[in-house]
Assembly symmetry: C2
Homo-oligomer: 378 residues x 2
């Protein structure tokens, strides 16, 4: 929110300021862009504005905070308040890059704020490097002490996003809708509607964020999904993720996912091969998508693994899932297909340890009769 | 709480009053006794006091509310306030029975309150029948309109407790500590410490409520548990549940659960047989426990199923589990023993449907790195 949601709060120092910015950042959603939060404080420590990044295509955190700050300046009874006296705190170094939004450096310079503190440096790549630009314009720009930033949680905001970026691959979200005993289908294969409408709506909102949805040939043959992103009323959204089918079996001529503008078939079981093909825009059997990623760019920035168990387990086992949304229905199937099957983990000490992820409404939420658990890979 | 936690609240009518009493009731824990909540209102609708039943051996809800009410009367600036003008609202008909606590009818009569409204009648058994007693003492006692009580949620507070009571069996709680993929042990059998210390402490608090803990011979042979109830520091509590072993294999001479005062071995797989033996105080192989239930009485009022999967599945499949605590660790085991195995449920429409249970801190809570999901059988 650009409004003064954390008004009447006063910071005691840099760690405190960053902790508030981190809390803002955690309101965002993970994906192609990192979580970023920002606050603006007065010389006496009062918090004047705050903002966070809501995901690809939306304003950056500092721009959102500045919007609230500017509104504050114009409407406040403290007219004559000088922006040059206030400080902008950001969890990540501001960008100096025009992407889907303008560079944050320009917005900061236009605001009149002269003091900027950030937690995590982002000097490389087209999105980083804003600190040098602001310094050359005469601003007081500094990185907060690393230990203070760590204690405030700023260093832990985006470890998997940075890993994905440094690996040159998209951020990977996985979806698992299961009964409370970890089954995704009954013995007879019945698998539709395990979870309720609220869970399915959330799953649709995740689809709307991604460039591609990856399923196995088994899912295509069993469920024949369209894999489209739909709004709450069930209508297809303007931007559609590219359906990607992984596996060696053929995709039937009448498969529903062939109905979109483009789709991909990667005839391999190895997630890394799928990633390589996606990144290269290569296409074994479908139409080409190299210049058709729904959110722009020549490479996908965010992909979603929707299953089934073989595909999800392969990605999970390869350490390539960054975030997991686990939708748990209040059902006991008691038998039938398990949602995950990783035969290589034979002892408890080899288990995959995830962590509850506080981003996006907190780690645990209720969706109708279901529970949504949000996990991050460590 | 007997204090005025819901002060400054005003009720608009009976449904509103009962909804507040229901919210109080849901703060309690399920078990041998039903969930019960109570509030006391002034003639203008102000809520003067509230209370809930915290479980066997503690004050009944109306007694707790009356304690707050009496404190209010003694300390309030509204001295001269006449208890006869106020109304006691209870989700369940008050008892007229001296158990571990005195009869609620006596407490109500002593308070000076002259008007009592309750939602659910409890005319049978030694614990009910208080309405007639109060009426004979000249009080205005009435049952709230059934539809209003239903809308306030009072009718849905204790369906499984009433089923258990009407079946002459104890209330049955089940415990399941699993990975997020529904496994309770890795392929090599490693099963200790799937969940963290906070989950284990909660599980200990559940143990402290029950008369008996039921496990299978497999659990005895694999884990050799003591099955004692311990405090937060790990010390054995004064009252210990009776360990009950279900199944045909022998309990080893050196088994840890033989270390307590009494234990039972029921050499059968059928949960109903186990219940019958428990209720009869019969004992095939252990020492007799018929007069040694830790919370008093000649029959167990509350038992806990701790597993393993065969035993839990048998009780779940027989419809004999009233409440399930599901402790879910942020682990993926990927293979290994599933926590539930009910081969008879072969299609989704035959799945067991549970419901999230708002009692005891809400249906969903975080316990350290784990998540606790509280489910009720429908």
């Amino acid at each position: 929110m650009s409004t003064l949601e954390i008004a009447d709060t006063t910071i005691a120092g840099p760690e405190d300021a960053l902790a508030l910015a981190v809390a803002q950042a955690l309101r965002g959603v993970r994906g192609a862009n990192p979580l970023v939060g920002a606050i603006i404080t007065a010389p006496d420590g009062r918090v004047l504005a705050s903002g966070y990044h809501r995901g690809r295509g939306t304003a950056h955190a500092e721009v959102e905070a500045l919007a609230g700050f500017n509104g504050f300046n114009e409407s406040s009874s403290t007219s004559g308040f000088d922006p040059a006296d206030s400080t902008l705190w950001i969890t990540l170094e501001p960008c100096d890059h025009t992407g889907t939004t303008g560079p944050c450096t320009e917005a900061i310079l236009a605001s009149g704020i002269r003091t900027v503190r950030y937690a995590v440096a982002d000097p490389t790549g087209p999105d980083g490097g804003g600190a040098a630009r602001l310094r050359s314009a005469g601003l007081d720009v500094g990185q907060v002490d690393a230990e203070q930033a760590r204690r405030a949680g700023a260093a832990d905001l985006n470890p998997r996003w940075m890993l994905a970026r440094d690996s040159g691959r998209p951020f990977v979200t996985a979806h698992l809708a299961q009964s409370l005993d970890g089954r995704v289908a009954a013995v007879d294969g019945t698998s539709q509607w395990i979870t309720g409408p609220e869970s399915r709506r959330h799953a649709q909102s995740v689809r709307s964020r991604v460039d591609a949805i990856i399923v196995g040939t088994g899912t295509v043959l069993t469920d024949d999904p369209r894999l489209t992103a739909r709004d709450a009323a069930g209508r297809d959204l303007p931007r559609q993720p590219v359906p990607v089918v992984q596996g060696r079996r053929a995709v039937p001529a009448g498969a529903a996912l062939r109905g979109g503008d483009s789709w991909l078939h990667v005839e391999d079981h190895d997630p890394q091969v799928v990633l390589d093909r996606l990144t290269a825009g290569d296409n074994a059997a479908g139409t080409t998508v190299s210049s058709a990623w729904p959110h722009g760019g020549t490479r996908p920035g965010h992909v979603l693994i929707e299953g089934g168990p073989t595909v999800l387990s392969a990605w999970m086992g390869a350490g390539l899932v960054d975030e997991l949304f686990l939708y748990q229905a209040p059902l006991i199937l008691g038998s039938g297909l398990a949602g995950l099957d990783l035969p290589q983990h034979t002892t408890l000490s080899h288990a995959l340890h995830l962590t509850l992820d506080a981003a996006e409404n907190g780690a645990i939420s209720r969706l109708g009769d279901d529970v949504l658990l949000h996990y991050a890979a460590p």
